[in-house]
C-alpha cells in the first residue's frame, strides 16, 4: 500500500469515525462509510491540508471512493 493510501485512510477513519478495516480502496464514502455531503466537503478540506493540494469543486464531485481520492492526490501532489 502506498504512503498516500495510508494517510488518506487515516484521515477517513478520523473524520468519519469508522473502523479502519472498513476503509478499503473500493469503499464509497457515502454508500459504504456513511458519509453525508457535508462530510465529503470536510474530507476534501482535510486532504487539501494534509497533502498541500488544491482540489477544485468539479474534481471533488468526482471523488466518491477511497481509491478516487488516493488517485487524485497522487496525480496532483507536488
Amino acid at each position: 500500500m502506498s504512503e498516500t493510501a495510508d494517510r488518506v485512510k487515516k484521515i477517513v477513519v478520523e473524520h468519519l469515525g469508522v473502523e479502519a478495516d472498513k476503509v478499503t480502496e473500493d469503499a464509497s464514502f457515502i454508500d459504504d462509510l456513511g458519509a453525508d455531503s457535508l462530510d465529503i466537503v470536510e474530507l476534501v478540506m482535510a486532504f487539501e491540508e494534509e497533502f498541500g493540494v488544491e482540489i477544485p469543486d468539479d474534481a471533488a464531485e468526482k471523488i466518491s471512493t477511497v481509491k478516487d481520492a488516493i488517485t487524485y492526490i497522487d496525480e496532483h501532489k507536488g
Partner: protein, 247 residues
C-alpha cells in the same frame, strides 16, 4: 452567562449606529473583534473608541465581490486563526418607488445586503466547520417581514437574509454552527434624530413600547445568539421592535 471570553468575532458595518453598539456589546462580554467598514478613517476612530486589547480593523467595500471573498481569511489571520462569530450587520438603502427604481438601486442593495452576507458566510463556514463551533448572526429588519413602500429592494434583501439563514442553519447545524437573524424595528440613530418632531410622534404611535429602540437593544440580542448558551437556537429571527410587529 453569555460570557464570550476566548471567542473572536467579525462585525461588518461596525462603525455605524447599530454596528458600533453590537461591537461594543460583544467586546464587553470578552470577545476579540475584527471590525469592518468601508470608511477607513471612521473605522480607525471606532477602533480607538472601542479600546481594549486584541481588536483589529479590517476595512472592506462590500460591493466589491473579490474584496468580500478576501475579508474572512483576512479577519481570521488578524485574529490569530479563529472566527467564532460572524455578524452581518452592514446594510445600505437606496429607497425609491418600484416604478422609478433604477437597476443599480436594486443591484447595489441586493449586492451589499444579501450577496455580501452570503459570500462571508460561505467563507466563514470553512473555519467554523473545522472548529466545530460557529455563530452566524445577520441583522435584518422589521420591513423584511412587513414590507415598506419605497423599499422593495431593501425589504427583499432583508427577507432574503431570513430565508438564506434558514437554509444554512439546516446545512450547518450538525457541526455546531448556528445561523440566526436579529430584526430591528425603529432604532434611534443619526437618521431618526434628524426627523421632524411631528413625524417622530407619528412613528412612536405605531410602537406599543412607546419609544424608539436603541443600538444596545439590538446588541443584547446579538450577544445572546453569539453565546454558547444559545447553541440550541438556529434558523430563527429575534424581533427587537418594541412590539410594532408581532410575528
Amino acid at each position: 452567562m453569555f460570557d464570550l471570553t476566548g471567542m473572536t468575532a467579525l462585525v461588518t458595518g461596525a462603525s455605524g449606529g447599530i454596528g458600533s453598539a453590537i461591537a461594543k456589546g460583544l467586546a464587553a462580554q470578552g470577545a476579540r473583534l475584527a471590525v469592518s467598514g468601508s470608511n477607513v478613517a471612521k473605522l480607525e476612530a471606532f477602533l480607538t473608541e472601542l479600546g481594549g486589547e486584541g481588536h483589529v480593523a479590517v476595512p472592506c467595500d462590500l460591493s466589491d465581490a473579490a474584496a468580500v471573498d478576501a475579508l474572512v481569511p483576512q479577519a481570521v489571520a488578524a485574529l490569530g486563526g479563529r472566527i467564532d462569530v460572524l455578524v452581518n450587520n452592514a446594510g445600505v438603502t437606496r429607497d425609491n418607488l418600484a416604478m422609478r427604481m433604477k437597476d443599480d438601486e436594486w443591484d447595489q442593495v441586493i449586492r451589499v445586503n444579501l450577496e455580501a452576507a452570503f459570500r462571508l458566510i460561505r467563507a466563514a463556514a470553512k473555519p467554523m466547520m473545522k472548529q466545530r463551533f460557529g455563530r452566524v448572526i445577520s441583522i435584518t429588519s422589521v420591513v423584511g417581514q412587513t414590507g415598506n413602500p419605497g423599499q422593495a429592494n431593501y425589504a427583499a434583501s432583508k427577507a432574503g437574509l431570513v430565508g438564506m439563514s434558514k437554509a444554512l442553519a439546516q446545512e450547518l447545524a450538525s457541526r455546531n454552527i448556528t445561523v440566526n437573524c436579529v430584526a430591528p424595528g425603529f432604532i434611534r440613530s443619526a437618521m431618526t434624530d434628524g426627523l421632524p418632531e411631528a413625524q417622530k410622534t407619528q412613528l412612536t404611535a405605531r410602537i406599543p413600547a412607546g419609544d424608539l429602540g436603541t443600538g444596545e437593544d439590538i446588541a443584547a440580542a446579538v450577544v445572546y445568539l453569539a453565546s454558547k448558551e444559545a447553541g440550541y437556537v438556529t434558523g430563527q429571527t429575534i424581533h427587537v421592535n418594541g412590539g410594532m410587529a408581532m410575528v
